[in-house]
Amino acid sequence: MDLTLTESEAAFRDEARDWFAKNHPGETPRGDEKVEFEFRRSWQKTLHDGGWAGLSWPAEFGGRGASLIEQTLFNEEMGAADAPLPANVLGLVMGGPVVIAHGDEAQKERYLEPILSAEEIWCQGFSEPESGSDLASLKTRAVKSDGGWKITGQKVWTTYAHEAKWCMLLARTDQDAPKHQGITYFLLDMDQAEVEVRPLRQITGEAEFNEIFLEEAFVPDENIVGEVGAGWSVAITTLMFERAGLGALAVVGLGRAYEELLKLIAERDVGSDPSVRERMAKLKIGLEAMRLGAMRTLTATMKTGIPGPEASLGKWEWAVLNQEMTDLATEILGVDGLKSDEEWTYRFLRSRANSIEGGTTEVLKNIVAERVLGLPRLR
């Protein structure tokens, strides 16, 4: 057991730190979503030029081939530098890795570079209004047509859909096959009249997500990733990439929020309140447990390819901690914590979805019970 960095790890970290210091794009412009998005697109180009986009991708596909530890170090430095997220997060974290893992040569040739450069933004079309946690019950249908498929249905909880060129889309190509079969993984061109994107407003007031309505939208055969009918296993890979990629960012994000909360406590002079102290201590313990759990997962994955039992906990822990942290912050703020334009109020409301999005806490508990503890399935 050794949590110190090796020489090469330390060198990598120093290089990243140094690069961020020199290339930080300044504060992200707020207020106009378009402007903010273009800012992040340009920031991703800078990252790409610096050789930092597609950090985990193999070098042959334009990535850096960084180890898991290097990815973690990079994320930590990105957090420490308070750098913005690149524009094409889903392309980098999910789209590219899936194409690399399951795509054919032509697809690799076609899609990877524009992901890295943020020329083409990617979004994900998995969830549907009816399917929820039961993802495989999706109803969007693809019907064979000349040289491709015509797809009809509705997707929901799609980020960046209004900016995206490509959508990773799951649709049912065989109505008669069992639930998990008969699903195919498509890359849908969003630039067609048959695709309608509507913003989906949340209780926070913002429209972080979209709904997508498909009315015989066309996808040519060559835009299928993997085999027809094999989309479920390709999707599972995507979701694994999502969890790993976003998980590392989550630890960094929570750590920074905790620092802000410490400042808030000092400003409001409530640091002597025993219940505030108690809750802050519990949060610190939870944050450290989550950070250390991520390190354990990293170690296990690098050694054996298989993460340990703690790996299923990260998303669950994140939801618990973020909800408690924002709850405490808004309590400390009193009525200010009810104001619509207060940042912590936004975070508080937004955090209520943390135990739902990307796997509900209930589903995560099922997974832990069944897959980690080996308890019988309830079906």
Binding site: R201, Q202, G334, V335, L338, I356
Partner: protein
């Protein structure tokens, strides 16, 4: 001994439910919230029904009923999440009836009871000081920085509109109330305690509604081939909501009864009711959101109105933490 509404009280509650079910659907709440104003038509009808004066003495132009009757109305208004300036007017009435001079009573109570005059009330007396139902209010009841109760014309007070998450009610920030209007004697405090009970009854209604929405959704929504309400992760969560709601109901109506029949118990009963209602209404609405999943998190879904009002109500007239500290004092810890 009889812990149940009388037939008359039950009738008041049922009529209120029916009226609000037809006149104040959640779609109407949404319209008012989107417009950032009250549902004036609804308010007019409510005034015609005499609700604002239900607990105001007959001699002061009210219906002369008690806190239990008022609580049933507050519960139903909470259940409907009605966008009307009811609470501010009622609080003003309760406080002035408890501690106002003859002149003050004569000046305000009859007009508050008919709704001819609307009242705002300062509900948070620490930075920032927050008043509710400030929009269109003529009279304001408030403590000052020494904790002395005061009543006066809204026009004499500088009120800056506050944009809180709850859009079903108007809120305003008040810089200072020292020297404002006229002083109220300590007796007015019984009215403040009653106000806590009224607000707690509103939160009970919010929680009841959020629970019903969760249960309905859990019965309808299917996942993995069965209604989600058949999974204990959901059904036990709903059972826990019932636990929270029914405990709140017991404590709220007990406090209302104490206000009418056993005023010496009211300080403890009101503090317990407010602590419980604040805590339970938030836990139930947020738990209901978890049952609803993503759909409950959308702007299109009506749960947000209950969620935001419950969170806000819980901070008014004493947070759970403050009220529990009071309970500890009163039981002699």
């Amino acid at each position: 001994m009889n812990f149940d509404l009388t037939e008359d009280q039950r009738e008041i509650k049922d009529v209120a439910r029916q009226f609000l079910e037809s006149r104040c659907k959640l779609d109407d709440v949404r319209k008012a919230a989107d417009a950032g104003s009250y549902d004036e038509g609804l308010w007019k009808e409510i005034c015609e029904l005499g609700w604002p004066g239900i607990a105001t003495p007959e001699a002061d132009g009210g219906q002369g009923l008690g806190m239990v009757e008022l609580a049933t109305i507050c519960e139903e208004l909470g259940y409907a999440c009605a966008p009307v300036p009811f609470m501010g007017s009622v609080i003003d009435s309760l406080v002035i009836a408890a501690g106002g001079s003859d002149e003050q009573r004569a000046r305000w109570l009859p007009n508050l009871a008919t709704g001819e005059v609307r009242g705002a009330a300062v509900m948070v007396d620490s930075s920032p000081w927050v008043a509710i139902d400030t929009e269109g209010a003529t009279v304001v009841v408030t403590p000052d920085s020494k904790g002395v109760g005061r009543v006066g014309e809204a026009s004499e007070l500088e009120i800056v509109p506050l944009d809180l998450i709850d859009k079903t009610r108007s809120y305003g920030e008040v810089a200072s109330t020292d020297g404002f209007g006229e002083e109220l004697p300590p007796e007015h405090y019984q009215g403040v305690l009653k106000s806590q009970v009224a607000l707690s009854a509103e939160m009970l209604g919010l929680a009841q509604r959020a629970m019903e929405m969760a249960v309905d959704y859990a019965r309808d929504r299917e996942q993995f081939g069965r209604p989600i309400g058949a999974y204990q992760a959901v059904s036990h969560r709903c059972a826990e909501m019932l636990y929270a709601v029914e405990e709140t109901r017991s404590l709220v109506y007990y406090a209302a009864w104490c206000a009418d029949a056993e005023p010496e118990t009211l300080p403890l009963a009101a503090a317990m009711a407010k602590a419980q209602a604040s805590e339970a209404s938030w836990s139930v609405v947020s738990s209901s959101l978890q049952v609803h999943g993503g759909i409950g998190f959308t702007w299109e879904h009506d749960l947000q109105f209950l969620l935001k009002r419950a969170r806000t109500d819980g901070r008014l007239l004493g947070t759970p933490k403050q009220e529990r500290a009071r309970v500890a004092d009163l039981v002699g810890v």
